[in-house]
Amino acid sequence: MRLSSRRGLLLGAGASALVASRAFAQTAPAAGPFTLPPLPYAPEANEAAIDTRTMQIHHDLHHAAYVNNLNAALKDHGQIGGLPLGVLLTKLAELPDTIRAAVRNNGGGHANHSMFWEIMGGPGGTPSGELAEAITRDFGSFETLRTRLETAGNTQFGSGWAFVTVSPEGRLGIAQRPNQDTPLMEGGRVLLGNDVWEHAYYLRYQNRRAEYTRAWWNVVNWDAVAKRYAAAKAGTLGI
């Protein structure tokens, strides 16, 4: 296939772009209340769905930019910047006009990506225990949950996310949001979510988003998701 035969050339060009982009990302390393969490595994760990290069760019550059831009927006707003992220995102309407969009976009981006890294790096498979029971109760079957989340991701026009939401009682639901919006902004909680911005999948899947959202299950860490489920029910899930 012609696309793969040019892969070597493509990666060569990408290497110089990566060097340039690192310089760009570091132009404004605003110190502030929020920090980029390290990936909880090697960037190779999600190879069953996401290539190493994408993991590196996505975490080290895209997510880092959200953190830097969030800190920059909050620089002169000390009290607001002291709020936990999950609380900050419920107060967008109360923020000054000058920083509301920046906090929404970059705070949402920081929360979404922090969750995203946390629930990957696993072997895929199926959930078990109380979480599996909740999925059967609320969706009928695990396969139905998979299909519904994939559909939410595939039909999110443009940039955005598909989420499984969780209530304090442990009820599960499906949500899709544009750009970096999240159910956290309405006081909800996210059990897990998949990034369907093109940057999440373009290097390996190009325009084939549906292939990405199907393969993505291969790297979900159900132990990590089960911990989030328990935390949501205990009222301790921050973001």
């Binding site: 493509l10 970096q180 911005w197 190009q206």
Partner: protein, 212 residues
């Protein structure tokens, strides 16, 4: 009449030396743009689009707000990409603009450098997917603006685009990765065919020739 994918006005290798590689053009035109055309044709019957021009469909979908989004997403993206392919060319780029366009940019936007900076900022600050535009506003003056996803200045009623740049990540990810500002710089300095832009200025905007 069905909507159709117009051929690129140059080969898929033609812009590789100017920052837009063959793989980008093959995917962007042959897959992304083509998918919008296919999806739009699939809406003609259910949404009652038959007999209407693409421009009318885009404007009406924009006026319909949230209810119009399913049509606007596909129709707007079809129109947007038809314009996008036209405003780039292998002989594009440079700072020597044709006289009438240069004079108009000088008088309305404070000169080429100021225009480029405003256009680049519009592209950078369009959060997520979307487009940045140079348009003829209803007062006849040039204006720089931006729209999300598949919208455009026809759907918002702002005016007639004479230049547009796609800032969906698919437009630049293979060539520039996450660095959208470099893509926009490259577009303005190496890809824009200013003769085409002046032609659109003189004709009052693009007529796609597409309809249902």
């Amino acid at each position: 009449m069905a909507f159709s994918l117009p051929p690129l006005p140059y080969s898929t290798t033609a812009l590789a030396g100017q920052g837009m590689c063959q793989e980008t053009l093959e995917l962007h035109h042959g897959k992304h743009h083509n998918a919008y055309v296919t999806a739009l044709n699939g809406l003609v019957e259910s949404k009652g689009l038959a007999g209407k021009s693409l421009e009318t469909i885009v404007a009406e979908a924009g006026k319909a707000g949230a209810d119009g989004l399913p049509v606007l997403n596909q129709a707007g993206q079809h129109w947007n990409h038809v314009l996008f392919w036209q405003v780039m060319s292998p002989k594009g780029g440079g700072d020597k603009l044709p006289a009438a366009l240069a004079a108009k940019i000088d008088s309305d936007l404070g000169g080429l450098a100021a225009f480029k900076e405003a256009f680049k900022q519009a592209g950078i600050t369009q959060f997520g997917s979307g487009w940045a535009w140079l348009i003829i506003g209803h007062d006849g003056k040039l204006k720089v603006t931006k729209t999300p996803n598949g919208a455009n200045p026809l759907s918002t009623g702002e005016g007639q685009p004479i230049l547009g740049v796609d800032v969906w990540e698919h437009a630049y990810y293979l060539d520039f990765r996450n660095v959208r500002p470099n893509y926009l710089d490259n577009f303005l300095t190496k890809l824009v065919d200013w003769d085409v832009v002046e032609g659109l200025l003189k004709s009052g905007g693009m007529k796609s020739g597409q309809g249902a």
